[in-house]
Symmetry: none
Subunit: 206 residues, 4 copies
């Protein structure tokens, strides 16, 4: 079987293809962030990417195909960074771990409002969860999920329930993030944070 990651072992044309895909992906990402998905025409994407219109359809089904990819890839990066910080902190209290984790995500998305907007409006738990659970490329993200679920299991919570708790924390966090960062409702993220963390702690306790 062909190893996907071995960029070195790829033929020249395969590399070229990958680069072309990246060009289109990057152009789309920038435009989505800048003008929103619905206001970005494919003709703009290909123009920015410097490829022909037809080339777009060689690599993607439509705009929304790219949106899903963006969400998965970007989330993956952020989640990995957040986990990295948790590990490096050398803190072993689970509640603190979660707060640390969430806090990093907040900080990233606070800086990148556009990305937050894009992710929030197009995220579905299924897309997110299954991508990480099943796909080859997202080993790390999968490990994060498992980490949380395992920790809750130790606290006497079934895997099934743990998964649902995780889901609720994610949903609550992303809702609060979106509303407070983008709309500043009901308050700024700075003012929402203490209550959000308090609420997450409550949810994690029995």
């Amino acid at each position: 079987m062909k190893k996907i990651n071995d960029y070195k072992e790829m033929s020249k044309s395969e590399k070229k293809k990958l680069q072309k895909e990246k060009k289109i992906f990057d152009a789309a990402y920038e435009l989505f962030i800048l003008k929103g998905i619905n206001n970005t025409a494919i003709s703009e994407i290909v123009k920015k990417a410097g490829v022909a219109k037809g080339t777009f359809y060689l690599y993607f089904k439509d705009k929304y195909d790219i949106v899903d990819l963006i969400i998965i890839r970007k989330s993956n990066i952020i989640l990995n960074e957040a986990m990295e910080i948790v590990i490096e902190s050398n803190i072993y209290d689970f509640e603190e771990n979660v707060i640390l984790f969430v806090n990093h995500i907040i900080e990233i998305l606070q800086k990148d409002k556009k990305l937050l907007k894009l992710i929030y409006k197009n995220l579905s738990w299924g897309l997110f969860y299954n991508a990480f659970k099943n796909m080859k490329h997202y080993e790390n993200a999968r490990r994060i999920i498992t980490f949380f679920i395992d920790k809750l299991y130790i606290k006497g919570i079934s895997n099934d329930e743990a998964e649902k708790i995780l889901f609720m924390i994610v949903e609550l966090t992303s809702s609060v993030l979106y509303s407070s960062i983008i709309l500043e409702e009901p308050d700024t993220i700075e003012n929402m944070k203490p209550l959000l963390f308090k609420t997450i702690r409550k949810i994690l306790r029995n």
Copy 2:
């Protein structure tokens, strides 16, 4: 200022105007529910409403103008119903009141998935909250919000914090509702309910 509610006191032409507005509103609602907002053209709305295209622009700025109205009006109805049930229950435990309240909302939206979809995808806390807080027509909804905030105040929670807690409960509930009813992720609403209620109780406790 003209009193809006006094339908009886209106002149004939004013009544006609209101009826025309209602026709357009109703047609738009049905179509949004049926085909989604983006897939509904103004030409379809006016056709269904039986008015001319130009007439639409006499009453509304664009499609999204109507969407906001729909959300506010429909939410208002549902919230009032839910509050009615709380009052009629003669239960005076606050936690139970909230659960009863949320449960009714779940049951309504479980039956009307289309409306849930429409509301969830286009709801913003600001729209919702401010509409009820400030507008004449939504006295009841305003009273509900005040009811909750007062109850939390008695428990020693500041109005400001109470409002945020309310916000979080609303956001969490709507996220869970949407995901579980529409996508059945991470599980059906029936299976999510116990955990959702448990979580809400946790959030309400100190």
Copy 3:
């Protein structure tokens, strides 16, 4: 009920609409004749007609909508002319009538090869026959068909069979016309004519 033909009684806007339809129709006809249907873009039609692209779709479903109209209208004109000639000839022999009739059609289409091409390639008996049989506007054409069928009835041929014989004469004639005029195969129309007439006579005899 509104009389369709009363051009005089039409409102100004109705007249305008009719003129616009005519403009598009005429432009399309000329282009179809000139370059063929498949090689004519709607953008060319509207450009030639001097209207906006959207206007096209206000009057016609697509290109082929116009093709059908062209065939029916043009056939109607030709058939009426041919019948006129039969009547004016004061010949009362049925066989001669048919030959006279067919001969006129040949002469018209011999002069207008482009129209022949258009008609032949897109004609279906159903379109043709039913249009004349049922539509208000084609009283004369209907009367022609009835005339032939009646004459054959007198000769002891059932209406049903008469209709089929008519169909075969039409099909044979149009095939021969198309092949001989457009492709000069197997011979020129002049050289085919005698045999075609002979064959038609044979078909009409018992």
Copy 4:
């Protein structure tokens, strides 16, 4: 000149070429039958054939190049079969021979409506007639044509006229076939048959 038929004497690479051509031809035929010519893209043909896009252009000029080939080859097969039946019948009455011949063609095309559609819409007498008259590969079909013309010659009809009569019978038959089988207009093929045969007999008689 290279003998085309000697498959055995071909070099390996020549065989390979022929096989590749056949693959493309077969794929195109199936797709044309299935979806029509205009709705079949070259990319689909090569995909089905399992060759690269560029390869198509090594063997054919365009889609329509293949269409002509299909018509000639398929017609050839059908005509040969029909002739076979005439010969095997041991009937020596010419009129009966023609009817037998036409009847077989009807039966084949009645079973293979798709092929009928393809052939009819793209058949021109010239293509058909000249292919059989001149090309090496269609000796049998050529002999059939000669057979009919000879028989008519015996009846005192010049070769030239005989050819035209044949043409008219073919055109009439194919028109009736197409219209009755595909469109069921003016009636089903079963109901048209008696009249078609009667008409053909009339045409053949002096």
